[in-house]
Symmetry: C2
Subunit: 131 residues, 2 copies
DNA sequence: CTTGACGCTTACGTAAACGTAAAGCAGAAT
DNA sequence: ATTCTGCTTTACGTTTACGTAAGCGTCAAG
């Protein structure tokens, strides 16, 4: 039941465009926990799923510690009602955060658009009028 | 012509919810350059505009050095054609970056939605059926 | 006139997120 | 048998983004 495709640290690092050190650092922080076969790390699909989430979290500027709580959320046991309600609360908090970011990005893109138009207008005025 | 409303560092820091140290740090990095009246810093509207951009950039996870180049872009001289074309290029680059982020945020929100539905469904199954 | 309230500089400290040797094991190839 | 190749740990170094004193100037109120 622990079977399925497997990857070495080199393959994972290469595929995700990070270094071995980065992966090990993430393991130190509990962001991933690959299987150990003897001394070597063996990565499974679960680890890849988490890594995708981690790297997206990073692109969005979340600190790794916060990313860990988020990623753990997805893997959390959902047996008891209390647990499920806690998870749902966390989801709401996360969504609020993300929606602030969404607004920030949208605003930034909009401002960039305005600025571009202003620049283009300057450029037009600079162009000698068609004779 | 250099007139208009003015603010002290305390007022600015308070209003933007950061510390004096943060403001001075931004000045060290050239992110803001308040007027100096004697030894004291006097902030004008221009500085506030830049600070808004800076803090949004931070919320979006950009490093301060990169933020500086972006903010400088808005204040860049736009006299010569070459300058304008350079600025327009930069705008395109920025926009590409922001649109990647936009996608990341949207994906994250969508996944959160899926996860929530899954949790709610678990919760429903946990609830004893209405007799 | 001295005591705060603010502001300034200088400078060392710190947390996060890795980078970068250094040194060693383990199996495969020459 | 030893030389690679790939993986491992340990541990100190580095960059970013400030925090946190230390020590001084200044102006107004008590």
């Amino acid at each position: 039941m622990t079977s399925g495709p497997e990857w070495t640290i080199a393959q994972i690092a290469d595929e995700f465009g990070v270094t071995h050190r980065t992966i090990r650092h993430y393991e130190d922080l509990g962001l991933v926990s690959p299987e150990r076969r003897g001394t070597q790390r063996i990565f499974h699909r679960r680890d890849r799923t988490r890594l995708k989430l981690i790297l997206r979290g990073k692109r969005l500027g979340f600190p790794l510690e916060e990313i860990r709580t988020i990623v753990d959320l997805f893997d959390a046991p959902r047996g008891r009602r209390a647990q499920l309600e806690y998870v749902l609360d966390q989801i709401d908090a996360r969504r609020a955060d993300l929606e602030q970011r969404l607004k920030d990005v949208q605003d930034a893109i909009a401002e960039l658009g305005e600025f571009e138009r202003s620049c283009r207008s300057d450029l037009d005025r600079l162009t000698p009028p068609t004779p």
